[in-house]
């Protein structure tokens, strides 16, 4: 652990990279949550030299334990895992809701272009927009999908399920990063299944980024 830094309602967790590769945007890591039996999946948010940074929303015991880490604490980190975004796109448009903003900074940096739309549930949550300079930001009751242009181009999105469904309705070929409870993150437990292409598939192996969606 290098440092924990509050960014509005979220916490940016910066970890020494050690021997780990950052992987590609949309991939995730399993982070040991101190005091809990199972690790927690976290998308890579930023990859500064020698570091991996994660943006964490403290919604339960595991994420709260991660946000309570202090500089010098050691945790086990495993990854990168899963399939990230396909970067071979013409007109990328990044769309994120809430903590779905987490993978966007690394994605924007890697793509080197494209605009971004972000939606948050409160101004305090919206402070995380500093991680994505130039993004257009809305706060509830306005929804991020209201900002989608008629021809949205190549949408790369992450956020809560209802948001992803709404994005897909508008952009059927969007790349969507989904969530599911995960015990292992590497295909071992069969816990993270989602219905995709008509059958139950492990999201950690088949996703988390899927085209067309669940």
């Amino acid at each position: 652990m290098q440092a924990n830094e509050a960014i509005g309602a979220y916490t940016l967790l910066r970890i020494e990279r050690g021997g780990l590769e950052p992987g590609s945007p949309g991939q995730f890591f399993m982070l040991e949550a101190p005091g809990r039996l199972l690790p927690r999946p976290m998308s890579l948010c930023l990859a500064p030299a020698g570091e991996l940074a994660f943006l964490v929303d403290p919604i339960g015991p595991g994420t709260r334990a991660l946000c309570a880490l202090r500089s010098g604490d050691a945790i086990r980190v495993f990854g990168p895992l899963g399939n990230g975004f396909d970067l071979d796109v013409e007109r990328p448009l990044l769309v994120a809701g809430g903590i779905g903003v987490a993978p966007m900074p690394y994605l924007a940096e890697t793509l080197g272009r494209g605009s971004a739309l972000l939606g948050f549930r409160s101004p305090r949550h919206a402070e995380a927009a500093v991680l994505l300079p130039g993004a257009e930001v809305v706060v509830e009751p306005r929804l991020v999908t209201e900002l989608l242009p008629d021809d949205p181009g190549d949408v790369l999105a992450c956020g809560p399920e209802p948001m992803l469904e709404a994005v897909r309705a508008r952009a059927p070929h969007a790349q969507l990063a989904w969530e599911a409870p995960m015990a292992c993150g590497y295909g071992a437990c069969y816990g993270c299944v989602v219905e995709h292409e008509g059958r139950l598939q492990r999201l950690c192996v088949a996703g988390p980024v899927l085209r067309g969606g669940l």
């Binding site: 399993m30 040991e32 809990r36 039996l37 199972l38 690790p39 595991g62 086990r76 495993f78 599911a180 409870p181 995960m182 015990a183 292992c184 590497y186 295909g187 071992a188 437990c189 069969y190 816990g191 993270c192 299944v193 989602v194 059958r199 139950l200 192996v205």
Partner: protein, 291 residues
């Protein structure tokens, strides 16, 4: 002589994690059934304070796809293979054993007689083992549930029916409720409870069966350190399997293997294998079968 470390069935997919499988002395497949199964609807895993619950429900491609596609790929890993099989009748188990008999990639068949997440075969464990014994000359391990009043009795029955070894234990049924909705955290309601809380239960089962039968035992249930493994060996196991710990620490087998030897040496034994059965007072416990 060493104490082999296996994965617990259903807690590792060697095809998505070959390097992890290669840290093991034996790779055990997730339970295969005659027909393909999608398993139970999600959510089907949940953490509890002291363990975890799962209601996977034996998701697997079915024996046909397993033999045609999965098995050849597993064989390339270079790790000895055990295949776990499950069914809903004696015929199911017999059929699975027959089909696996011709496959030299498979060293051992583990009969899953104890999945808490699917309907049980109406026959007894001993009847299933007897039918499997008829169907195959391969080594047969019977995997038993801790949810039984007298596991030693079941152990004796499956030994008499021809089992070559025991895998102890499977998960036990547990339930957790979401704190705010009071709804079960798993879609299916209850699930199989695994992890640290299971350790004393597993240890009691191994201890009881080691006294009851002279079969090698793979001990499992909450093992996450060399000391836990050594306790199972002292209770009578000749091998240990890692389950839930692999989710948090995929390469745990390497650490547990080193710690097991360290723990044995600290206790004055040359190796972990040398302390097998030492928790038993009885002197008749000298002739123990190896895996």
């Amino acid at each position: 002589m060493t104490v082999p470390i296996l994965n617990a069935s259903g807690c590792l997919d060697a095809l998505t994690a070959a390097e992890v499988a290669q840290t093991l002395d034996v790779f055990v497949t997730k339970t295969v059934t005659p027909l393909p199964r999608e398993g139970n609807p999600p959510p089907r895993i949940a953490e509890t304070e002291l363990g975890m619950l799962n209601s996977i429900g034996l998701q697997n491609p079915g024996i046909e796809a397993f033999l045609d596609d999965t098995l050849p790929r597993l064989a390339r890993l270079g790790v000895p293979l055990w295949v776990s099989v499950g069914g809903f009748s004696v015929q199911d188990y017999a059929q699975l054993c027959t089909l696996l008999s011709g496959r030299e990639e498979v060293t051992t068949i583990e009969l899953n007689l104890s999945c808490p997440n699917v309907d049980e075969a109406p026959e007894t464990a001993a009847e299933i083992v007897a039918a499997a014994r008829e169907a195959t000359p391969k080594t047969l391990y019977a995997k038993l549930s801790p949810a039984t009043w007298d596991i030693a009795e079941t152990a004796r029955a499956v030994a008499d029916a021809g089992a070559d070894g025991l895998s102890l234990v499977n998960t036990i049924r547990g339930l957790a409720l979401a704190p705010t909705t009071l709804e079960p955290t798993l879609e299916r309601g209850a699930g199989g409870y695994s992890g640290p809380a299971l350790r004393p239960i597993a240890l009691a089962c191994v201890y009881a069966c080691a006294t009851a039968v002279d079969l090698p035992i793979v001990g499992m249930g909450g093992v996450s350190s060399g000391r836990h493994a050594v306790a199972l060996v002292a209770a009578g196991a000749s091998a240990v399997a890692l389950g839930t710990v692999l989710f948090a620490e995929p390469f745990a087998a390497r650490r547990v293997r080193v710690e097991m030897t360290e723990a044995a040496v600290a206790l004055g034994y040359p190796s972990a294998a040398a302390l097998r059965g030492k928790a038993h007072k009885s002197a008749t416990f000298a002739n123990l079968s190896a895996l």
